[in-house]
Symmetry: C2
Subunit: 159 residues, 2 copies
DNA sequence: TCGAGATTTCAGAGATCTCCGAACATTGGG
DNA sequence: CCCAATGTTCGGAGATCTCTGAAATCTCGA
């Protein structure tokens, strides 16, 4: 059937599904696909051009996505070993990084609740609800980094 | 001053800010505002009509939002004590519930990685990256429920 | 220093999403 | 049993977002 894949690799089905999952997590569609491409490639690194070809998207989209991803530390530029231009890859611990990003939202929620309490007081009806909320997110804010650290140590001692 | 608030309450500024934060977390704007209204109100419960008036939005939007929120367990219908129709409020532990929803994404990520490994094998270049990813999300998937349970118990013993 | 290839920026077309408003359904009281 | 008040569904206008394509910019090697 009308198969347009001529010389381009295209993402495997699991890769596209993973990209979709990342989308739910807040990434843009193309950004998620770029990440998936770098995750599923059998090369150590990819150039911007290779990414564009694999996904069948414009170089402009790749540029924007790559900018966003490096900004959050989800991919890194590799100093370019040989001749070409920019090479990219997932850094060690990319997923822990992504998780830390989620943590910022936890902090935001805690702060928002705190601000609410500042205007209602702790003992009003709304104040009690807000206090419960703040306490919960405060707890997560304190415990999540420890959880991730524990992951890092178990991984270290394995190697 | 051109103050259009005639008989409607309008959300406080902290409430609107919290709604915005919830938006980042994946909720729609109106849905987030409905949740914020129920969080900041000084009443124990609110009717759909009160929510619509407070937020200045259509009853249709309230209906849709309420449907979405009850679906995830973030608000609950209260059996209506007296005469009127439907009353709503935040249930106990709503935030833990919301967090559990986030966990589903962790599971999704883990599964996506697993599927990837199924096609690449564990020892290919991509396979190694996917394995690292799967192990990390598996770890979270195992540990996060425990973290939330610990929160629940500390809260219990306080009371 | 120059040229070719690679990358970034950006305006705008197209796709997508959101929310309203009105028609329709439902429920409880009189 | 009917009516009035409340709740739900859904089409579509408007707002928003996304991605492309092309022009501008940059960089390296010769």
């Amino acid at each position: 059937m009308s198969d347009e894949r001529t010389a381009m690799a295209a993402l495997s089905d699991p890769a596209e599904r993973l990209a979709l999952a990342l989308t739910q997590g807040g990434l843009q569609r193309m950004t998620a696909r770029v990440l998936a491409a770098l995750l599923f490639t059998e090369q150590e690194t990819m150039t911007a051009g290779e990414i564009a070809e694999t996904l069948g998207i414009s170089s402009g989209s790749v540029s924007t996505s790559v900018k966003a991803l490096t900004g959050v530390g989800l991919i890194e530029r590799v100093p370019a070993p040989g001749s070409r231009r920019e090479h990219f890859r997932l850094p060690e611990g990319a997923w822990a990084t992504l998780m830390s990003g989620q943590n910022m939202m936890v902090k935001t929620m805690s702060d928002a609740a705190e601000q609410g309490i500042a205007t209602t007081g702790e003992e009003s009806i709304a104040g009690r609800r807000l206090t419960e909320m703040r306490d919960f997110y405060d707890y997560l804010w304190r415990e999540l980094p420890a959880l991730i650290d524990r992951w890092r140590s178990t991984k270290t001692e394995q190697s």
